[in-house]
Assembly symmetry: C2
Homo-oligomer: 313 residues x 2
DNA sequence: TACGTCCATGTAGCGACTCTACACCGTAGC
DNA sequence: GCTACGGTGTAGAGTCGCTACATGGACGTA
């Protein structure tokens, strides 16, 4: 019945082991184990059971953990009301981002927050191969995530608050001297036979390249695979291949050595979201940051409107 | 941010004074005062202000108290899930009733609960002049309440869970030898000139007598006023006047010395409810008792169906 | 089979927290 | 004025949850 203990159970459900919970909550495993033991005694039924050298939650444990989330939401709602009343979002907000998203949105967002004043935003980037964005919400207030298609968004929407920020077109990146660089719009067939600089298996852009292959009727020839777009850009700028890159962020140091072209006939875009655990989403400070992110995303889209013609069907 | 402190604030909002909160929560006023002080320091803004020799909540305090109720609901929801899982409603349930309601429903309800087994129901009756039924929900899990008209139910439905149990007709009680006792149905005009045994000012039945006066076009002559229906019944049985009494409960020791007659043209009935504070309503034990109350109320209505003809409009 | 590692869990003791007991102060009513 | 009442301070005691350290079982490897 004690809320702090319930919260521990919920952490256990999210993280899977007592040691991990202890690390996340800055306690010793012994303390966590003791508290869970008390909770189990109060509950009157087993909440965990041994599994190998670790433990797993029982059905009852999982159910209780879920209701613990509701309690957390109610408590954070009270905290938010609190902040609202003194009109002063307090505390620190942590944010995890994928590299290109952070590059595109975070400087502007931080400037917007500085203009408001009062709260501090701690950002850090996470390796983009981690396609398990929702898991990061246990450690960060806000997680920036992207997917190739909204259909691939198999995130549990009742356990994760999803805020759509923007849709960014994916363009074909060519070196300036490339024969295709003079065309206004590219068709998938144009790209047959090109050498591609792709992404590692499982990265979001992979799907876009597959779609192009399907539309062209021939598999694309991916000769390199990089996770960091700056490496990709360096290769393209040096004439070593073509690539598919997010339209608003591509370029950077190679702005004058890369040409971006719209692709016709294939829906190539990525969708960028903010993911937040519902209880954290209640905090006024968190909501303020999300609002700033949305405003910044809108501004980026507006600033790039001229390069973003409507796609033919 | 501590839940126990929030709960204290909520008690303060409900009860209005620190001393009362201390009494209700089995603490000393000093302890309550200290905890509220800490809460206020955490909040960073004043939650209470002095008023005479007592205190009142500020707007912020009231708002926080309201969100504390949401937290309580979430916590009790978790507790209920708990009970659900071990399939065993635990703990004790307290119930406050008005006398005739308790007489009519509680014996059967307790029998039903005994058949299920496992939980204990503590009942006590409260003076019926207390028309402030909702306030009792702070001290009892379930409060049985009645009103003459549902319109008079000005209970805040978002702060109180209201469960309708039954509608009980109000009949005219006559001594057996009374001239009107031979009529099948009575009209308001029949009652002009009768001596009435009424209820104290403010009791629910008062409205029914007023409605009859309006329908008859003449004020009724109330010569006695009793809160306890047994006294009223004794007077009616002894031929000292007529009265309006709840159909299913009237009689008792005077069953053979009282005649009950339906009244035509006036909607005379009382509505019986169970009132529960939303957080308490989450408990499985409480819901089990409410279910038993509803079943018993249905049974009482069914058993009396023959005396309950539909009212002409 | 023996060993090291990992994870969960006991035990002792320390520190923080929240309660009680009691004293004090301001307000209201006789 | 006195008395009653409600709220607030202070000192001390009990409880609770944490750490530090030791124990024991499960898995992987030599």
């Amino acid at each position: 019945m004690d809320v702090r203990r319930l919260e521990l159970l919920r952490e256990l459900a999210e993280r899977g082991s007592i040691t991990e919970v202890a690390r996340a909550t800055h306690r010793t495993p012994s303390a966590v184990s003791q508290q869970l033991r008390v909770l189990e005694r109060e509950a009157g039924l087993p909440l965990t059971e041994k599994a190998g050298r670790g433990i797993v939650l029982t059905d009852a444990g999982r159910a209780l953990a879920r209701s613990a989330a509701d309690v957390a939401v109610a408590i954070e709602h009270a905290n938010a009301l609190w902040d609202e009343f003194r009109n002063d979002p307090t505390g620190e907000v942590s944010l995890a981002t994928f590299p290109t998203g952070g590059q595109m949105l975070l400087p502007g967002t931080v400037k917007r927050l500085d203009a408001i004043g009062g709260l501090t935003l701690h950002c850090s980037d996470r390796d983009p191969e981690s396609d398990d964005f929702p898991a990061l919400t246990a450690d960060f207030d806000i997680v920036l995530a992207h997917t190739a298609s909204p259909a691939a968004m198999n995130w549990p929407s009742n356990e994760i608050t999803v805020v759509k920020l923007m849709t960014e077109p994916l363009d074909i990146a060519l070196p300036p001297g490339h024969p295709l660089a003079s065309k206004e719009l590219l068709d998938p067939e144009d790209l047959i036979g090109e050498r591609w600089i792709g992404v590692p298996w499982g990265y979001p852009f992979e799907k876009a390249i597959q779609d192009i292959s399907t539309a062209a009727g021939t598999p694309m020839n991916v000769v390199q695979r990089f996770g960091d777009t700056r490496v990709t850009e360096a290769f393209v700028a040096n004439g070593l291949g073509i690539a598919i890159l997010p339209c608003y962020t591509a370029g950077g140091a190679y702005r004058s050595e890369i040409v971006l072209k719209n692709l016709r006939g294939v829906v190539s875009e990525r969708h960028i979201f903010a993911l937040i655990r519902p209880d954290r989403a209640e905090r006024l400070a968190v909501r303020t940051v999300v609002d700033a992110l949305r405003a910044e995303a809108d501004a980026v889209v507006a600033a790039n409107a001229h390069r973003n013609p409507p796609y033919p069907a």
